[in-house]
């Protein structure tokens, strides 16, 4: 055990170790240790998206089965504001991508403008969804009204719940950006939150199709 002697509970302060390329168990390098490295953050993101996909796949299969099973399914009137909300969400995704392009070009100011726009649009979407629910409520459509409305509320709420996480991430990046604290380490947060947002965007388009075709 030649190595055992080198382990000690006393840590020597010093600059953090230089980043080492490689890892993945290859012969070229190793990992740079504790904490979320950029690569692990992306893996975590893809894994999270897989879990969210499973969640919505389960809701969808429940919806298809429930719809086919009984004759009590009556289509829920969809508030037209949903189309406005869809446009807002798509625009917010586009804004985030403009922001990332600006950052790649080194234009910090432009990044801040676009990212803030994307974040604001994100909150606007959530507001729009709330309006849609209120309109349904005023029309007397509640969660227990019909299986169709039950699924409409469940799916939009589950999506909104994901979105709350998403806008929190966007807001975090935005605050960091506006306080000029956007070091290279924050690039991971930018990319991860933007990709997550695009996923929620795609998910929403899927839900719209689901509502209008089967809902």
């Amino acid at each position: 055990m030649g190595m055992a002697g080198s382990f000690t509970h006393e840590y020597i302060q010093g600059p953090p170790p230089p980043p080492i390329e490689g890892g993945w168990g290859d012969d070229g390098g190793g990992n740079d240790g504790r904490g979320s490295s950029r690569r692990a953050s992306f893996t975590g993101l893809w894994v999270l998206l897989a879990a969210s996909t499973m969640l919505f796949a389960a809701f969808t299969s429940a919806m298809v089965v429930r719809r086919g099973l009984s004759d009590d399914w009556a289509s829920t009137p969809k508030p037209p504001i949903l189309f406005v909300n869809t446009a807002v969400l798509l625009l917010s995704s586009a804004a985030l991508d403009m922001a990332r392009r600006a950052l790649k070009a080194g234009a910090r100011e432009r990044f801040n403008t676009w990212w803030t726009t994307g974040t604001v649009l994100g909150f606007l979407f959530l507001g729009g969804q709330t309006l849609a629910w209120l309109q349904l409520k005023d029309a007397g459509v509640f969660i227990s009204t019909n299986p169709s409305s039950s699924f409409f509320y469940v799916l939009t709420a589950a999506h909104a719940f994901h979105l709350l996480g998403g806008v929190s991430a966007l807001l975090y990046v935005d605050v960091q950006a506006l306080r000029l604290r956007l070091g290279p380490a924050k690039r991971t947060a930018i990319d991860v939150s933007a990709i997550f947002w695009h996923f929620l965007d795609g998910l929403w388009l899927y839900l719209m199709v689901l509502f209008y075709v089967w809902g």
Partner: protein, 592 residues
Amino acid sequence: MSAPAHASAHHAPSGFWRKYIFSLDHKVIGIQYYFLGLFSVFLGMSLSLLMRFHMVNPEAKVSWFAKLWPTAAAGGLMSPELYLSLMTMHGTIMVFFVLTTVPQSGFGNYFLPIQIGAEDMAFPVLNMMSFWTTFLALVVMVAAFFVQGGAPLSGWTAYPPLSGAGRITGPGEGMGQTLWILSIAIFCGASLMGAINFIATTVDLRCKGMKLMRMPLTCWTWLVTAILGLLGFAVLLAAGVLLILDRVAGSSFFLPSGLFISDQIIANHKGGSPLLWQHLFWFFGHPEVYIAILPGMGVTSHLLATFARKPVFGYKAMVYAVLAIGFLGFLVWGHHMFMSGMNPYSAMAFSVLTMCIGVPSAIKTFNWIGTLWGGKIHFTTSMMFALGFVSLFVTGGLSGIFLGQPALDLYFHDTYFVVGHFHMIMGVAAIFGMFAGTFYWFPKMFGRMMNETLGKIHFYLTFLGVYGIFTPMHYVGLVGNPRRYSDFSNVEYLAGVIPVHQFMTYCAYFTAAAQIIFVINLFWSIRKGPKAPVNPWNATSLEWTVPSPPPFDNFAGVHPVVNHGPYEYSIPGAERDFIMQTDPPSAVPAEG
């Protein structure tokens, strides 16, 4: 090396709260999970003892029952509803807070990062949140005992309409059932966080040289278990959300029309499908069985090689078998529903796929025996428990082949045959995996050795005890004894099996008493056990290269480099009978 080449900038936190309670250190979190599981397993076991007591003393009036449950056990006599609530909570606590928690989140948290040469999990904050979310889920679950009506009655599978129609279906079906679903939903969230961490850590934080096919089999099983948890718990979460809405928001996902419960027509629900719940639940529920057992398989493979001083027989076959079990686990949920009126062709498909799982399972068993074959076996306590795991896995697996056939399941369904089967393979086998892991890794976790003599006494008593409890259940099931009933004393065709029930109850008392030895050994050894060396078992994986217990960042700032596979034991011509994964490449003598 006198000082690490790159000194680490990471320090252990010094305050009590950050060090022991809201710790970000995967090792502390692993121990937190372990003790959460230890509390849960004794709680769950106590409930089972009450059930076994009642089954053979259905008329007994116990004064402290009346004190604990003034309505459910009025006059000290346990009501059938109370029995059902004990059964529900026993199953739920054991499945979620013991079998899911300890092998994966407990041992996995502690040893996955060390075994792959990482300083911590990929997301330490997420890791901490995952534990405290699990803790919250346990608090909410236990709270179900203390609300009006008591704990729920619908079993760990919570089938609607019983679980969905509310208070009218029974005393525990009010607030108790709502808390149950809430707790499970919280638990799903915690498990998803854990799964994300496990997968990202395994994929991205392996040290230099730690190729996938150099990972100890424990890491492979933790990875596959995390994938199962990720896909399974997401679906259970969806099902739980729908069920809770049926209860509190008046929707009808699972509740059909025309329900007639307790002399009342349930008019406010219509059109839902109880079978929809069963599909969603078992899509999670079957992989859950593998979530419970796979880490035990990993530990067993790891230990058999270590203590037979031989490489794992067919390492790659073991890896592919674990992957195959994980994959097939998602295709067989229907075999829990043969009796639900499913199309016989569907049942046949589910049955064939179920039989297919026998193939990777047999590969694993064959390779375990191959690993032992001709080895110099060291019968340590942890090795005995690993051998016990193999025994229980085979016993429990064989009865699964019976249950997997629709024609036979027609008869066996909801009898004690099923109870005997799943306790053997999912309950006791997994618990033996935990015992094996405890005795094996205790020196690393607590820096002291456990007592081997007490350990072996505990092993023999437990091994005899569990076979004494669960083997007769198969027989009782063959006779046709249904499960979930609290009293068989007036059932004529079961009069002959009452003495068998009495025997099983005595075995349960005996086995429970034997666990006191374990608890004494555990806590005595934590304080007074002899100091553990760095590598007490002459094992090869990375956790045995660092001090016991390991420093805060595991490798004290050094980046380990791996040059060998995990099971290089008794290599001809080598200096010692084991080659550590970090030994230089020259440790293996060149051929020729």
